[in-house]
Each structure stands twice: as C-alpha cells, then as structure tokens.
C-alpha cells in the first residue's frame, strides 16, 4: 500500500450523481437486526390457484367468453320453457314461419320471408315465434335451446369420460412405467392408427343412433389425447425430487398419486378438458350433419343445422340461428381454454 495514486480513470465515475441527503451524525450507532427478523417472509404470496384466477380475470377474452358461456348454458336450461311450445309438438298450419319478435323488427325479427311478405299477417297467426318455426310448425326457439342443451350435455359427458379414462390410463402408464407403459402405449398407437371416423361410424351403425351411442362413439378414441397429456406430465413429475422424497418416506402409490402427482397435473388436465369440449360439440354436429347423429324429433345443434341447410335458400333463418349459437359456444370454449392455459402454465409464472 505504498503507491497510492487516486487515478482519475478509476474513480472519477464512481460517485453517484443523485446522492441523497447527508445523514445526521447521531445515526451512527450500532443497531443490528435480531435474527428472527432476518427469516421473516414478506406478506403471504398468493397460492397457485388464486394467482391463476387473478391471471385469468385479467384476460378480457376469457372473461367475456366465460360470461357468454354462462348465459348460453342458462338459456339452454330455461330457454325451452320460456314459451308454451315444446320441442316436439307439431303444428302444421304454422309451418315455416320466419322469426318475429315484437320490438325487434328492425333486427330482422319482423316475420317477413325472403320475398318480403309478412307471413304472420298473411296466414293470420296471432302468436309470435321468436326464432320462427320449421316445416312441421315446431317452435325453433324451443328447439334451438333444447338442441344447445343436448349438444352441451353430450360434450360435457364425453369430455368428463375422456378425463376419467385418460387420467387413469395415462397415470398408470406413466407411474408404473417399464413394460406396462410400453404395452399401454402400443395400444394407444393402434387406436390412433385407425382413422377415428371409421371407428365412430362403425360404432354408430352397430348401436342404435342416439345420445348414448354418440357419446360412446366419441370417447372410444377421444380419451387418447388426455391419456397422452397426463402421461407426459407425470413422466416429468415422477423424477422430481419431491416425489423421490416422498418415496424415501415410504409413501404408498395411491398417496403419491393423490398428493404429489395429480395436484401438479391439474392445470394441463383442465386445459385439455376445456379444449375437448368444443371438439366434442363440433363432432356431434358433424355426425348429425352427415345423418349419423340424433334422430328426429330430438334436436341438437347439429340436427338443426342439417335441417336448416336443406332449406337455406327459402328459409335462411333456420340455418343462421343454430349456426350462430354453435359458433358462439365453440369460440367461447376455445378462448376460455386459451386463457386458462396461459393462467395455469407454470412457465408463465415468475
């Protein structure tokens, strides 16, 4: 320490420009913090789920979709009983009436057909059919909401069964690994190898067409996606040290599954389910559209679209209304699922 030369290059730049006010001299007294304060935590950080909710609610698209879905589901439950008609009651004299709502004439709900003739006054119909009627005079309002109800029901049940089968299958496959995993994965490969449209069509041809056979047909191959997601996630988790720690403590298989593995794959599972639902709705509609779906007089959105398609030129409202509803349902589910994925993805956490 003999050569001390405060050389201008080294320190000229050290002093900060924004030096705070000089502290007073009486502050120079020892005041150590006691050791308990050192281990103090900040205010409780939100739990994973709470934080995920918060993130979801910041996503405008997801929130709007959630609200719309709630409205649509509510309508599917109460809509059919909002007027005196039932979905199957035929009233031939009132066939093919365009939609008419008092007060909403400016929106096109004016009871006029494609030629601009008001069918209600021409045929002397007193009651207003909000969404019009079909060729048998059945009220389309009732049928659309009934159809939404059935479509949602089919989709939810199919998604739920996919979930159950997929989680169990994927979980077992990943957890036990080795030969069991190998065998179970080969089965999945065979199942995905067969075009699923063929499987479904064969299935429906063998069983009687109806809600039950459509659901069965959809889950026969539908669970594969969920099983793969669950297996992939579980394989990753299985090697994590907290799972090993639990194993060194002698935790049973079911405890490991319940406490350590499943809670940590819930996020991806929820997201996958949310993406399965719109796919199922679409698939049901598609089956109905090609004539393999529900049989009259039952209505689903697919059946209504198919009916409307036949009369697209003369009675466009028959196609338009159920098409708008099914589009809304699918877009909302997809947006919500997207929002959930962003909210639950651990990679997004900081």
């Amino acid at each position: 320490m003999t050569t001390i030369q405060p050389n201008d290059g080294d320190f000229k730049n050290l002093r900060s420009q924004d030096r705070p006010a000089e502290p007073s001299a009486d502050l120079f007294v020892p005041q150590p913090l006691d050791s308990t304060v050192r281990e103090e935590l900040a205010a409780p950080a939100p739990t994973f789920w709470k934080e995920a909710w918060e993130r979801l609610f910041k996503n405008k698209g997801a929130v709007v979709s959630l609200v719309l879905l709630i409205i649509l589901s509510a309508m599917s439950l109460i809509g059919p009983s909002m007027n005196e008609f039932t979905y199957r009651e035929q009233h031939i004299p009132h066939s093919n009436l365009p939609p008419k709502v008092a007060g909403l004439e400016w929106l096109g709900f004016d009871g006029k057909d494609v030629n601009g003739v008001d069918q209600y006054t021409q045929r002397g119909v007193e009651t207003n059919y909000w969404f019009g009627t079909d060729e048998f005079g059945r009220d389309l309002w009732t049928r659309v909401w009934k159809g939404t109800q059935i479509s949602l029901f089919i989709a939810l049940v199919a998604a739920f069964l996919d979930l159950v089968i997929g989680v169990i299958y994927g979980g077992i496959s990943a957890y036990y690994g080795g030969r069991i995993d190998n065998f179970m994965q080969r089965i999945i490969e065979i199942l995905t190898g067969i075009p699923n449209l063929i499987v479904i069509i064969l299935f429906i041809l063998i069983l009687e067409p109806g809600i039950r056979s459509i659901i069965l047909a959809m889950i026969i191959t539908g669970w594969v996606g969920m099983a793969r997601v669950v297996r992939g996630q579980m394989l990753q988790l299985k090697g994590q040290e907290f799972v090993l720690a639990s194993r060194t403590l002698g935790a049973s298989d079911s405890r490991l599954m319940r406490k350590h593995l499943l809670p940590n794959v819930m996020g991806p599972i929820i997201v996958t389910v949310m993406f399965t639902i719109p796919t199922a709705i679409f698939f049901e509609a598609f089956l109905s559209f090609i004539g393999l779906g529900l049989q009259a007089p039952l209505a689903s959105l697919g059946v209504l679209i198919e009916d409307g398609y036949d009369a697209i030129r003369s009675f466009p409202y028959k196609l338009l209304i159920p098409a708008v509803v099914i589009s809304l349902v699918m877009i909302c589910f997809n947006l919500l699922a997207d929002g959930l994925r962003d909210a639950l993805d651990p990679k997004m956490r900081k």
């Binding site: 308990t36 935590l41 409780p44 403590l249 002698g250 350590h260």
Partner: protein, 347 residues
C-alpha cells in the same frame, strides 16, 4: 420388533458400523444392447455418527449410490448391512418400512424437492402421517413447529407455500422433512450445490449441529471438494461407477494417492490468489468416458498421466495401502510394478 429382526439377520458387520456396503451394483438397461453401469461394485462402511463424503464428477454414479441406499432404486447386485439388518434383493414390507424411517435423504435442488401444491406443514408432516397414522392433528402440528425451530425457521412459516421461501430456507424445510421421522442415517445428495455461497455455510453448519445433537450418520455426496473436506470424517472418491480412493479427509488432501484424486484436488480453484499464482496444476486431458462404454482394465487409464500396459488389461484391486487409506491403482501394487519394470510408488 427390532429385537426379533436383529436375531433373524445376524450380520457380520463391525460393532460400531451403522452401514456396511459390499459390492453394490446398479445397472440401468437403456435398450437391448446398452447397459449403463452407474454403480459397478463398490464397498464401504460408515460408522455410527460418522460422515462419509462421496465425491466425483457428474455421471460418476455418486447420486445413484445415494438413491440405491435409500431404496429409490433397487440395487442390481450386492449386499447392504444396515443397523443389524441384512438387505439383499427385494425387501419385505416390514424391512422396507424400517428403511423408509431410518434412512432419509436431503436433495440437491431446493426448488424441485418441495411439492409446490403443499404447505410447509403438509410437507414436513408427510413422514409423520405415513409412519404414525395414529398421531393426533394437534401433536403433529406441535412436532412440525419443533422441527421448524430446529432448522432455524419459525412456526409462522408452517402455513406458507414453498415458492414464498428462498433457496436456503427451502433447503431447511427439506432437512426438517427428513428429520421428522427421526432417521438414523441421512444421505445428503449435493445439498449445497444449488445454493448461494453465503447460504452454503448456513446449511453445512446446520447439518453439523444436527449431527452432534442427534448422533446422525451422514453420507455426504458432493462435487465441491472444499466443503466435503470440511464436513466429512472420511472421503471416498468415485470415478465411473467405482471408488478409486478412500481415506480420512485430512489424509486424502495431504497425500492423495490415486492420480485421479491428485488431479481432482489440483483442479479446484482456491479462493486465495497467492496460492493460485504459485501452485502447480495437473490438468487432465480429455473427457470422462461414457458409463455405457467403460474402458477395459483400469477405468481411469484413458486420462491417466501414468498409464502403463498393465492398466489396459488388469482392473486394479481396491486395497488398503496403509491403515485407513485404500486405493485402486497399480502404481501401489508391488507385483504389477515389478512386471512393468517400474519403480513402486511409495506411500
């Protein structure tokens, strides 16, 4: 119960040895052709209350040793005597349960070793739930609070989730979890490798205190040789699935015999500029061979500066060359050195 078990499996282990491992092997079959020999026949013993350090570079099999001893992996071959129990092949339920209690593990990564969806209290009490299912909720809570205090946290932390804690605090929670079931033997698998320098000493001191208070026995796995030397009574050096040298920690540092140990020690950069400027470093050439394709003879010969013809043919025997100091190297074998026509390395 313990008494009966002791009678059933009378062991030939020494009086004060808690753990005796003989010829332990763990191989992983990767596919039809390749077998990864992670641990390939190692033997050592650990006395009650002792710390054995296990060092080596990544991929040498040191973590696999720890996981085999805690029975996360089933050993491929070999025998382990633990506290009067003879462990060989598949364990019956009773023995397994005892091992799950008496042998615990502290993990490397404080971020992945705690379940993010469980509270600290749930994490620490897991062992209690498994092993003392009759314990009342209140007693369990009390025990969790005791354990938290023991590792330097406090009871306010019990209801929090892991992501609210820092790395060092998380590692303490991991230690509390291991201690909850009152184990006799703890495998610490690189418990400080992922921590900041200023925190490492906290954890090492805590482990040492706990050992003194509770007479714990440790297997301390690490790649940081300076910390290992500090905490261990004896140190085993592993290379490619085998122990190449085992000695008391002072002896190993003062007089490393195996060329690998010598290189390893000289490769640690010392936090002392003066020493760094003056000392001679042995820098090994090349990389560690793959454990799926282990060289013939001595495993270290491909990187050894002293490799001879015999090294490629004969696998050196792991022998005690002076009391308490064993090494697996031909340089200390009179017979082989005579055959090679070279001078025997003196110990």
């Amino acid at each position: 119960m313990t008494h009966e078990l002791k009678e059933q499996h009378t062991t030939n282990a020494g009086q004060d040895d808690l753990l005796v491992v003989s010829d332990l092997k763990k191989h992983f079959r990767l596919n039809r052709k390749t077998v990864l020999k992670a641990v390939d026949g190692i033997s050592f013993s650990i006395k009650k209350g002792e710390t054995l350090g296990l060092v080596g570079e990544s991929g040498c099999g040191k973590s696999t040793v720890g996981r085999t001893l805690t029975r996360i992996y089933e050993p491929t071959d070999g025998e382990v005597h633990f506290d009067g129990l003879k462990l060989k092949g598949r364990l019956d339920g009773k023995t397994k349960k005892r091992i799950n209690r008496d042998v615990q593990m502290i993990f490397q990564d404080p971020y992945s070793s705690l379940n993010p969806r469980m509270t600290v209290s749930e994490i620490i009490s897991e062992g209690l739930v498994i092993h003392n299912p009759d314990m009342s909720q209140k007693d369990r809570e009390k025990r969790v609070h005791e354990l938290l205090l023991l590792v330097g946290l406090n009871k306010n932390h019990a209801g929090r989730y892991p992501h609210e804690f820092s790395g060092g605090q998380r590692q303490r929670i991991g230690i509390a979890r291991a201690l909850a079931v009152e184990p006799k033997f703890i495998v610490a698998d690189e418990p400080i490798a992922a921590l900041d320098v200023s925190i490492q000493a906290q954890i090492v001191n805590l482990l040492k205190e706990l050992q003194e208070e509770r007479g714990l026995t440790y297997l301390f796995i690490a790649h940081d040789l300076s910390m290992v030397k500090y905490i261990s009574d004896r140190i085993a050096v592993m290379y490619l699935g085998k122990i190449v040298e085992l000695a008391g920690s002072e002896a190993l540092y003062e007089k490393p015999l195996h060329p690998y140990t010598q290189a390893l020690l000289s490769a640690i950069p010392l936090p002392d500029p003066e020493k760094e400027r003056t000392r001679e470093q042995i820098v090994l050439t090349g990389d560690v061979p793959s454990p799926t394709d282990i060289p013939s003879g001595c495993r270290f010969r491909t990187r050894c500066p002293f490799a001879m013809d015999s090294c490629a043919v004969i696998d050196p025997e792991f022998r005690e060359v002076e009391p308490g100091h064993s090494v697996a190297c031909h340089l200390y074998d009179a017979e082989i050195m005579a055959k090679e026509g070279k001078e025997l390395k003196t110990v």
